[in-house]
Structures are given as structure tokens and as C-alpha cells.
């Protein structure tokens, strides 16, 4: 395969991943590494470097659209970024010392977990819970616009949420993904932050988390321009198109199909990693 064909095919695959990721809200980043490693036989280190770059592109591109709506909470985001960025740097350091096979196995497990999470219906915790002293001290409580006026919310479970965020950062630095699924769990399950706020704030944080490990990857030579170029351009174009086409009716089916794809890729990654093919 020559470079022209390789770039075209990878670019098209990335476009599809970005498009489906934006439509389903599952993020395209998780399928980039398996696609490159399993389908195009790209070394997993290059694959992770390219994925990390695409994660920054989609997060920053989408954040620009989200902020206008006034859902995201920059204090929550910034406070939790102290955990995710430290985690990301730790994750990138671990990536240096473990084999590609081990990374592939962890990646597969994370894929299966993401698919499991997306299959569950999220239930908004309706009751207005009191805040905790730590959350108040950190000024994390806020408000957001709803159809029936401005709704205020209180934040709880700061230590648990903070620890989960550190874990999300490690996974992001190790696997080159946004870890959006773990971030949203930390915010809505542990900290009881409303969905709209947790989803948009998580998206806001993903770019910063990815940037924390991307610099280290670049200096190590993991970010190869020949791989990262088609991935970044493809995912960005795909996610921009996906964000514009809001076909709400079919999203449920799409989510299901995408979740099945993720499960298959998860098993394939674990199998390839365990048998030393990656």
C-alpha cells in the first residue's frame, strides 16, 4: 500500500468514526486505535499518538458549540483537571514501560466497559441534595438554563469524583482516548452533577487532559505525521458533519450498532494483545 492510498483509507475510516462518535455521543476516539492497529496494522504506539491528537481536535471543536448554551461549569472543570492532567502524565509514563500487548488488553477491557455503560439508561437524580462543605469551599455549586428557567444544583462526593478523574486521566494518557465515559460517571454518579452539565464539562476537560500527555508523546516520537494527519483531519471533519446532522429518531439504533462494534473491537483487542499479535 502506498502512502497516498493509506492516507485516503485511514482518513475515510476516521471520518466515519468521528461522524458516528458525534451522532451517538460515544466519541469517535475509542475506535481509532483498534481501527489503526487491527485493520491497518499500524504499531499501537503510533495509533495511540494519532488518536490522542484527534481527541483534542474533536473536544475543542465541540466545546466551541457547547459553551454558547451555558451548561458547562468551568470551576468544576478546572478543579477536576488538576486530577486528570496529573493522571494523564502518569499514564503516558506507564505507556513507555509496558508492551503493546498489555496496552491492547487494557484497551479491550475499557472498550467493553464503555459499551456496557452506554447500554444502560441514564436516570437523572431528581431530588435536590444538599452540598458538602468541601464542594461549597471549592465553589463548585452552580446553575444552568432549563426550559423552566435557571436551575441551581449542588455538588457532592468530591473525593470520590476526584479519584475517578485521576483514573480517567491515567487511561487517557495510557490509551490515547478521551475517557469521556469515566469522566461522566465520576460527575453524574459520584458527584451528582446534572447530565447536561456533566456531559459538556467532561467534553471541555477532555482536550486539556489529552494535551497533557500529547506533548510527552510528541517528544518521544509517538506522534507520526503520516498517521496523525489523516486521522486528525478525518475525525474532525466527521464530527463536524455529525454535530450538524441531528437525526434524533435513529440515534437509538445507531448507538446500539456502535456499541456492538465496540464490543467486537474490545474482544479483538484483548485476543490480539494476549496472543502477542499487537
Amino acid at each position: 500500500m502506498n502512502i497516498l492510498v493509506f492516507s485516503g483509507l485511514v482518513g475515510f475510516g476516521a471520518l466515519l468514526a468521528g461522524f458516528l462518535g458525534a451522532l451517538t455521543g460515544l466519541g469517535g476516539g475509542v475506535v481509532i486505535v483498534p481501527m489503526l492497529a487491527l485493520l491497518f496494522h499500524v504499531d499501537i504506539h503510533y495509533a495511540i499518538g494519532a488518536s490522542l491528537v484527534s481527541v483534542i481536535a474533536t473536544s475543542s471543536g465541540a466545546a466551541a458549540a457547547y459553551v454558547r448554551e451555558g451548561y458547562s461549569n468551568i470551576r468544576i472543570g478546572m478543579f477536576l483537571e488538576t486530577a486528570t492532567t496529573v493522571g494523564a502524565i502518569v499514564g503516558a509514563a506507564i505507556a513507555l514501560h509496558v508492551s503493546g500487548g498489555a496496552i491492547a488488553i487494557v484497551f479491550g477491557l475499557v472498550l467493553l466497559y464503555s459499551a456496557f455503560l452506554s447500554s444502560r439508561d441514564r436516570v437523572e437524580h431528581g431530588e435536590h441534595l444538599p452540598s458538602t462543605p468541601l464542594a461549597t469551599k471549592l465553589r463548585l455549586n452552580g446553575s444552568y438554563p432549563t426550559a423552566s428557567g435557571v436551575q441551581s444544583y449542588n455538588v457532592r462526593g468530591v473525593p470520590a469524583g476526584y479519584s475517578l478523574m485521576f483514573g480517567a486521566g491515567v487511561l487517557s494518557g495510557l490509551l490515547g482516548i478521551g475517557s469521556g465515559a469515566v469522566k461522566v460517571v465520576a460527575m453524574d454518579q459520584a458527584m451528582k452533577i446534572p447530565f447536561k452539565v456533566s456531559t459538556t464539562t467532561s467534553n471541555f476537560m477532555i482536550g486539556v487532559t489529552a494535551a497533557a500527555s500529547a506533548g510527552l508523546y510528541l517528544h518521544r516520537g509517538y506522534i507520526s505525521p503520516g498517521v496523525a494527519m489523516p486521522v486528525m483531519l478525518g475525525v474532525l471533519a466527521g464530527s463536524l458533519i455529525g454535530a450538524r446532522i441531528l437525526v434524533k429518531a435513529r440515534v437509538k439504533v445507531l448507538r446500539y450498532v456502535f456499541a456492538v462494534v465496540i464490543v467486537v473491537l474490545g474482544f479483538e483487542m484483548i485476543f490480539s494483545g494476549a496472543t502477542g499479535r499487537l
Binding site: 500500500m1 481536535a57 466551541a64 482536550g207 494535551a211 494527519m229 474532525l236
Partner: protein, 125 residues
């Protein structure tokens, strides 16, 4: 409370513009690099099966800038990727200033901590 929320919203709007500009600039530079790169190497064989690491000049900020000035396609792509990585860093730097204007010193420190980590990652070797 309402007043500070309005301030937050204005800051977020500016951050939104900053992020969009950074991403679009990065994508344009990467696209330009792609054209130069594909024109030169398009018909070479693609081999990314084994990890060799990038050539040394594509790993450091000075090497990338120097290569881009010599119109090396790979270096131009890498420069675009650097702009992309720098975009969230610029966002964090801007937030630090915004918190300082609001006199929220707790968050100025929180933000500077995040910024220091990002700069360490970007400039360390």
C-alpha cells in the same frame, strides 16, 4: 451569584471562539502539510507496522519549526499538530487571567497548577 454567572458566561464565549480558531488554524496547517507531504512521498510504501519513533527533528519544537520553514511536509503537519496541542493550553492560560480579573484567587492557583503541568509536558524532553 447571578452577576458572577454572567461573567462566567462571557468568559466561556471567548473561550469558545479561542478553541474554534485554534482548531481551524491547526487543521489548515495540517492540510497544507498534507499536500506537500503527499506530493513528495505519496507513492512511497506506507510502513507503520513497527515502531521506530519519529526522526529526531520531528520531536522537538525547534526542529519542527526549522523543518516547516524549509517546507518539509511532515514538519508542517507536525507544526499544525503542535498548534492543536497548544489550543487547550491557551484556553487554560486565558482562564487563569479571567479568574484573576474576577479576583477568584483560589481558582487562579488551581488554573496555574494545570497550566504548569501542560507546559511541562509541552517543553520537557
Amino acid at each position: 451569584m447571578t452577576k458572577s454567572n454572567w461573567g462566567d458566561l462571557e468568559i466561556e464565549l471567548i473561550i469558545g471562539v479561542l478553541l474554534r480558531t485554534g482548531v481551524m488554524l491547526a487543521a489548515s496547517v495540517v492540510l497544507l502539510g498534507a499536500v506537500v507531504y503527499l506530493a513528495h512521498y505519496g507513492l512511497h510504501a506506507a510502513d507503520y507496522r513497527t515502531f521506530h519513533g519519529d526522526p529526531e527533528f520531528l520531536r522537538s519544537l525547534t526542529g519542527i519549526v526549522r523543518g516547516a520553514l524549509h517546507l518539509d511536509g511532515r514538519a508542517i503537519i507536525q507544526l499544525g499538530l503542535l498548534i492543536l496541542i497548544a489550543t487547550p493550553v491557551a484556553r487554560v492560560a486565558f482562564s487563569a487571567v479571567a479568574f484573576a480579573i474576577e479576583r477568584d484567587y483560589l481558582y487562579v492557583w488551581v488554573t496555574l497548577f494545570v497550566l504548569a503541568l501542560l507546559l511541562y509536558s509541552l517543553f520537557s524532553h
